[in-house]
Symmetry: D2
Subunit: 234 residues, 4 copies
């Protein structure tokens, strides 16, 4: 993916400083992170989308629903299967309450009415990309994966140094995970077509800020191609 | 500050879910965070700005330089003095290498050519808002304050539950600090006129994402007014 | 429990400095932590004990097995039931691999042959004190609860400031959790009769170091009494 | 150093499980941690020792004072000089308050009367082993180095995987740092003659628990020998 030239004021100055080098992407040190593809968060028929439709704002979901159906879910299927085939870890997060009543989720999530019992159907990963044996599923009690799970600990234990981050919402938990991941010295990639915000500007702003800064933004197929090339060379 | 109605696609859907409650702002439990106002990072005559000018992109700094001079530095002066007068902690961060050679800063910062010896003049807080006795200065080795300093530990020890976040750059270390701060259950405020990005869109995008979500965005004077009112009531 | 006077050289000097104040123990801000009471770690018939017996060191388990049967398991039953009755959170940890193959557990645990698939029967909490609806069960991938789970995040979200720590082994994961818990500014209690080391000196050394320093060491019934008194007063 | 056979009940059972492998110790991936050798904490003439003497318990300091003078300070001098000569990082911690009034130190340290302004002479590293240019000095606001500083972040940035831990007190901040360090998957060594507790049993208990479990306990000269051998081979 080539980044469009951007003529906004201040962009050229910023990119005099910001210029992340490329890095190798090897199956033995790379993990796939799939963020919040639960019925509550991601499905058109439950949770967030249902609330938005019931509040009369269903028309405003058009971008999100089409993108999820046509791009994101198929890309996630290819990525999860590809990582498993190469023996690389697949890590899912789902926002939920282990206690059941939401008291262990953040004040933000409680304020937003997003609390959900981890045992409920709506809190599970959508079956289209259901976790398989050997995958890791983390119950996330906040927004950034690193701040509210033990993911960093697991990644260090596994010798993982490179992350491919996917899921929803691009400018929210995905961006938050990439910002902290980059700060923790992980080499990060965003699989652009495997992520969605609720709005076109949500996607565009996240990519504009993160690309070449905290991560490289690439397509799922580009990333799978890089991994397969290294896998064959090994 | 009232947030303008935003008619972008998807914004209404998003804000059906996202709606952070107001909260009290009390001097005994609130800290001011001043991010990266060092000569290297912030001054027109050193470090980042000098590099940008030498690369021929000086014209692209117009927004940033005017905003810093006319809004941000005066607001930071009022805020730091106001917090000190009420006995509330003022915490500065500065990006620098304790080892001197940059090896203890993140790979991103090394790649961007941002390493600097913590003892150098350019790595110090600008004298216009120089730290005073009783302030805390943290050497930050990454982007988000929480990920690369012991700030959370200090805040818990001090009984601080509310943060007023300021400094540079709005969409980068400031936004990163507010995202993680909110996730750590701190009640966060961004003092909008005490922050700057390098571009108008950098400021606008950060505010659009964060306001009413991870923090409330208010002016420095609004925030000082809230603190003074609580201080007098106590 | 009164601490015996200790005439070892250096003890009096140390305790001129070390002297933790008492603190209130209230149901609304106190959590029970039950560490590693899984079949693998704790049961006489599985995992660690089985390995020790097969290696010909079964006689050396006498202290541990009697203490677990006669003191620890009954105390854990009273504590878990008591906390639930007062609406206070009960948090269990179990050492296991979410990935299944142990690669996400620490190098120490892998080196010690302690890896176990989180889905196996041996990795579950023993049925005598089985988790109930509303309890939290954390998969711990290292020794200290705080270092290898998101427990601190959950506790802050729930407004918990006081911990009652129990389980096995007193001088190992229990002590490690209390050391870090105290450092994170939690007020800590060790329920002495609800913990066991593998040896009398393991218990004695942990208590000697921790009591009045990182926690107060009390009996389960003393702690339940303190909670009930506060509960009735509220 | 060979570990004495220990015939205490339960010890053999425990060590059927606990058996840390040896690992290489290379200058390019090893850091020296020197804990709390400040005038307040370590010197016979200030802070803790002065308080103990004034409380009439000076005789009880005999073991500590002799060990520090004859073993620990000379070993720390050899270690710090040896690490610097091989280009390996030397990291000091000192317990102090950045705010000055102790409010940013833990409740434990405040309760123990251990608060001290980071700018005071008593809070500095003792001049016999004073930090040199290129060394890192961290202000530690709690007990364990990892829990209350950004040390883990710095170590990851520098590519450090192995730690040599030294300083005071063996069974307190030193042991706490090794426990958490091991849990964070660092390969840890304790340089036994470069550490001291306040009592012989404090040293003995820490070594009995940690050796072959969270670290290997070796002499300073053994460790320097291992590093030099790798350095010459490189």
């Amino acid at each position: 993916m080539s980044r469009e030239t951007n003529h906004k004021e201040g962009w050229r100055a910023w990119h005099t400083i910001i210029r992340l080098p490329e890095f190798p992407v090897r199956p033995e040190s790379t993990a796939l992170i799939v963020i919040d593809i639960t019925y509550q968060q991601a499905s058109p028929n439950y949770g967030n989308c249902k609330r938005i439709i019931e509040a009369g704002n269903g028309n405003d979901l058009k971008y999100y629903l089409e993108r999820m159906k046509n791009k994101v879910m198929p890309a996630l299927k290819r990525l999860t299967e590809g990582f498993r085939a190469m023996g690389a870890p697949v890590i899912y997060t789902r926002c939920a309450s282990l206690r059941g009543d939401g008291s262990d989720q953040t004040w933000r999530h409680r304020s937003f009415g997003l609390t959900i019992d981890a045992d409920e159907h709506e809190a599970q990963i959508m079956e289209e990309i259901a976790p398989q044996s050997g995958d890791i599923v983390l119950v996330k009690t906040g927004s950034s994966t690193f701040t509210s799970t033990n993911c960093e600990h697991l990644l260090h234990n596994m010798g993982i140094t490179t992350l491919v981050v996917t899921g929803i919402y691009t400018n929210s938990c995905v961006e938050g995970t990439i910002r902290v991941g980059g700060d923790l010295d992980f080499r990060c990639l965003m699989a652009e077509d495997a992520c969605s915000a609720m709005s076109p500007s949500g996607d565009a702003n996240a990519i504009e800020y993160l690309d070449g800064n905290f991560c490289h933004v690439k397509s799922s197929d580009e990333i799978l191609g890089m991994l397969r090339k290294e896998n064959e060379a090994a």
